[in-house]
Each structure stands twice: as C-alpha cells, then as structure tokens.
Symmetry: C2
Subunit: 343 residues, 2 copies
C-alpha cells in the first residue's frame, strides 16, 4: 500500500480508483441514485468504500451549494432542564433526518447571542432554533433574507414573522392563578426573572395580574429578580413577607429555576412550605414531588416542544412557505402539597 501522509484523507477519487469507476458514478451511489447503477458497479463501489473506510466530506458537499446538514440551536441557559428537554426532542428529529445540531449557550447575553448567530451563519446552517434575548432582530432578519428557517422557542418576537413554539401561557397561567385563588390565598406574588424582552415571562406576568384583578384581588405583587445576584431574590422575598405579614400568602414562580432558588431561600430563612407560605410555579422538574410537601407545578411538554419546533424547520426546508405559525401547547397543572386549601 502506498504510504500516505498522516492527515491525508480518503476522497471520492480514491473510492473511484479502487472501484474502477469515475467519481461521478461514486457520487451517484452516495446520493442513492441506485436506479442508474448496474448491480456490479454498485457492488464494487460498496466494497471500495468499505475497504477504504471512506466518509463523504460534508464541507465539500455543502460548498457545492444546497445544504450544510447543520441546524443551529441557540439557548439562553443550557443547564436549565427546560432547555435540555427541548434539545433532546429537537436532536431526535435532527438525527432522523441526517442532520446535526450546533448548540450555543448565550446566558441571555445579547452580545454572545450575536456572536453565535454570526458563527452559525458562517457555517451556513440550514435552520435555526432559538430562545432569543430579543435584542438581535436585525441579525435574525438577515437569516430570513437568506431563506433560512428560524423557529423561536418559548420567546416570541412578533415583528420578525417567524414560526413560534411554546406554552399556552394564557391557558396555563390562567388555570394556575384561578387554582391558587380558589385554594383561598389572598396574597399571591409572582416571582420572575427580568421581564424585558422575554415574551413568555411577560405573558405570564400579564395574565397573572389580569386574573387577580378580575377575581377581585387588588393586592398582588410582582417581583422581577436577576438570579445572578442572590440578594435580589432574598430582598424581594423579605419585602413580600413583610407586606403580607399574618395573611395567607402564596408565591407563584415564573419558571423552575426561579422556583428552585426561591425554595432554597425559604429554607435558609427556616420558613416552611406550606405553613408559612404556599409555593407553586412553572416547570415540573423531577425534584418537584420530592421536596416536601411536594411542589405544585405546571408541567410543560418540553420534549414535544423540541420535536415540534424541529419538525417545523424541516417543513420549511421542504418548501412550506405558509404564513408563520404560533404553536402553543397546553400546560398541565399538577397539584401537590405545597398549595393546600386555606382553612
């Protein structure tokens, strides 16, 4: 065997040579055009590929024009189980289609997000799933100009005209707030990360406020806390506790991460759930039933959201150019011991 330089890769030409055909023929084989290949040729190519351990070069393939077989996925926080459940669904669909996922974690930082979008564009991704900060609309619009399908996950930006997938916040929040009021809590606080730019938080907060008003509870409390600085959550909690001293109160967390930090704070303050405070919130993470007395949550069909989002991408790639859809999944209220009826 001829000696090869270590880095020298085997190409379609090598395969062609070994199989005794032209590279065009090999290319035909690779793209599955078996009907134009004689059995014999097909076999010889198969054998050559085996023997040489050939791997088609996607970069060359992609360069030629149409597809990179790469999908970008930009998430705000990869360590949030909400994100990974979606990622898992998205990835399963990608795999089935022969696509790979490029995953980017922005920490909600518009600058990082911008860098990543730039990178992804450089790699000529065929589609993008994004949990956007909402501050890079020009960049995103550019993708649209390049006819790259974009699906917004969890966070809408109506002006962009992209497909959007997430929870039905109207239904889910409404149900949850009605529930907690029905349990008899007169003082309910909504704890969320900063609302600015994040539609899901805004929607939840808005529905929260509206339902409270409609039901005749003017005393509600909305706290926006930045989880980067631990004191903020603590301060908000103190403030709420002070303002509602002696009354039946509950906290409604805008997502699972907020809820976890919140419960941690309560624990450090030696407050008990539900005696001192009822607690409920979005995201039914695995620990929810295990933290005494069991935390009431709103489950989101995260895996399904990921699957559906990615399917939308492929529909677009397959030529669907219908108007942008907004797909909202129902949330499911899961009642546990943290929100008992007030006696």
């Amino acid at each position: 065997m001829a000696k090869k330089k270590q880095t020298e890769r085997v190409t379609i030409i090598d395969v062609a040579r070994v199989a005794g055909v032209s590279k065009t023929t090999v290319s035909r084989y690779l793209s599955g055009q078996y009907h134009v290949l004689s059995e014999n040729t097909k076999h010889r190519i198969e054998k050559a590929i085996q023997q040489l351990n050939y791997r088609p070069n996607q970069m060359a393939r992609g360069l030629k024009g149409d597809r990179s077989y790469l999908i970008g996925m930009v998430v705000a926080d990869i360590t949030n189980p909400f994100s990974t459940a979606i990622l898992r669904g998205a990835e399963d669909v990608c795999k089935k289609k022969g696509y790979s996922l490029m995953v980017c974690n922005t920490d909600n930082d518009p600058a990082k997000e911008r860098d990543y979008i730039f990178m992804l564009q450089s790699h000529r991704i065929d589609g993008l799933l994004i949990n956007t900060t909402g501050h890079n609309n020009e960049f995103l619009r550019e993708l649209a100009n390049d006819r790259i399908p974009v699906v917004l996950v969890d966070r809408k930006v109506p002006e962009l005209g992209f497909d959007t997938i997430g929870l039905d916040n109207e239904q889910a929040t409404g149900e949850a707030v009605h529930f907690i009021l029905h349990q008899g809590y007169g003082q309910v606080a909504f704890f969320s990360e900063p609302l600015a730019g994040v539609s899901s938080r805004q929607e939840r907060a808005a529905v929260f406020a509206r339902v409270l008003n409609q039901c005749g509870y003017p005393d509600h409390h909305l706290y926006e806390v930045d989880l980067q600085s631990p004191e903020q959550l603590n301060d908000a909690l103190d403030s709420f506790l002070k303002r509602t001293e002696g009354r039946k109160r509950a906290i409604f967390a805008a997502n699972g991460v907020v809820m976890l930090k919140l419960i941690r704070s309560l624990q450090l303050k030696k407050l008990s759930i539900p005696e001192d405070l009822a607690v409920m919130g979005f995201d039914d993470f695995e620990w929810a039933p295990l933290i005494a007395p069991g935390i009431t949550t709103i489950a989101q069909p995260t895996y399904q959201i990921g699957v559906t989002a990615m399917e939308r991408i492929f529909q677009r790639l397959d030529g669907d150019d219908s108007p942008a859809q907004n797909i909202a999944f129902a949330g499911k209220l899961i009642v546990r011991g943290s929100t008992p009826p007030v006696k």
Copy 2:
C-alpha cells in the same frame, strides 16, 4: 442595486469587487495579515464587508484544508445535569477559540453512538469530547488515525490511548464509604446503573467493595439497575430492605440520576430518610439540599471538567503530542442530614 436571487449569498468575490481589490487581498484581510495591507486597502475592505454584510463561508474555508472549526461532543444523556454542566464548560472554551460545538445524545446506545461518530467524521470535526459507551472502539481509533484529538470524559477506555478526564473515583468513593461506615451504618448498598463498559461506575463499585472488605464489613450489597425499567430499582430496593431488616442501613447511589429515582421510590414506599434508611450519592445537584433532611452528596467539579477537557483538545490541536493524560479531579463530600450518625 442589481437584483439578486434570494438564495444568492455574498462571497469574497463580491467583497473584492466592491472594495476594488482582488479576492486574495480580501482573504489576507480575513485572516488578519494586516501587516501586508495598506491602511487604505484595509479600510476599503472593511467598508465593503460592512456594506455587503459578508460572512466568510466556513465550509469553503474548511474544504481548503486545515480546519472545520467544529468540535464534536457526544454525551450519553443530555438531560443529565452532569452532562450539561460539562457541556457548559466545554462550550465556553470553544467560544473563546472561535469554535462551535456539535452536540450528540446517544442514550447509551452504541448504534446511535456509531451513527453520530460517523456524522461527525463527515463534518470533519477537529476534535471530539466523548462519554463513550465503550462499544465503538474501532471507530474511535480511526479518529486517532486521522490525528483528531479525542478526550474521553468520565469514562475511560485504556486501550484507546486517549486523554481522559473525570473524577478521582478512588479518592471520592473511598472518602464517602469511610464516612458512611464511620457514621455507624453496618449495612450499605451500592446502587448503580449497569456497570458493563462504564469505567466510572466500575471504579466506584470496586472501591466501594474493597473499602467495605478492608473495614471488616463483609455484608455489602451491589445492585445494578437499568433505569429504563422502573421495576428494577424497586425490586432491588425491596430485596435490600428485606435482607437487612431491623439493621442500620444506608444506600450509596452511583450518580445523581440514580439517587433521584431512588429517593422517589423511597417516597412512594412511605419510607423516611434517614429514619428508615440513610441515603447518599454522587453528584451534588441543586435539589440535594432541598430534599429533606438534605441529601449527603459527593460534588464533582463538572464545569471545570468540561473546561479542562476542551482545553486538552486545543492543546492537542496546538501540537502537543505528549503521551495520553488521565486527569482526575477530586470530589468533595458534602454532608447533610440524610446520613446522621447512628445512635
């Protein structure tokens, strides 16, 4: 402005035309060879790039030869917080270096793993971080032949001769087992997912057994459970409880996921921690302090593991060809209420 077909992308030639220079010159600009460019030219190119909104095409760049600027990351379970914490560290390093991560989730399935490695090879990844099932060694070895750096995370496969990063299971497990024995538990069970092929589980189980023997506790119990079938964990638990009835017993979980499922089982059986059973295990996930009475854990420096693993990749890419390293980080025992001293 000339009308462009929607999909027509702007290339280095467009930039060259607008800037009034050759594409070679633009290429020089792009690769930062400013010392060979006149200020004037540099400026004109800058402006053209701005104006056209040009993005260099990585596929073309990669095709030309050297680098794809893509790193593959293959994990056994993307929804395991252990994996995502590592991913986060790995990704931060990648971003700093201008690289992107292709993330693949294998569910511990060797066939999926094989598919993914194939895909990643097709995309000509420059490096690979992998949590391998241990059943695709031929494929992995091939990567090594292509001089692509591979770093094994959490799971070793000595015969492959790759760099390896993970926990110091000897130290961490030893410390933990000594601790639980010291607390006075005579009956300790080790619960793990199937050991076969996964070195970290094997090491932990081995140290567990050895230390128990050394300390004069012949009665130890090793349970391998497949978390896919929920009954297995339950059955194992029942068996352990029956065999140790009336004695002071503890369970040591081989990782955070096992521990969570285990605690869930205990809860459904109405067993209390630590009255009926002490519990401890690997992985200090965020819920550990919140599940009463606080779960004793062994924290792994996951973010750091991810960072270090990826740094190793880049060292290799930068030409380091020293023998394979095995980097083991110390675990930290975090004692909480789930493992009180036996009275």
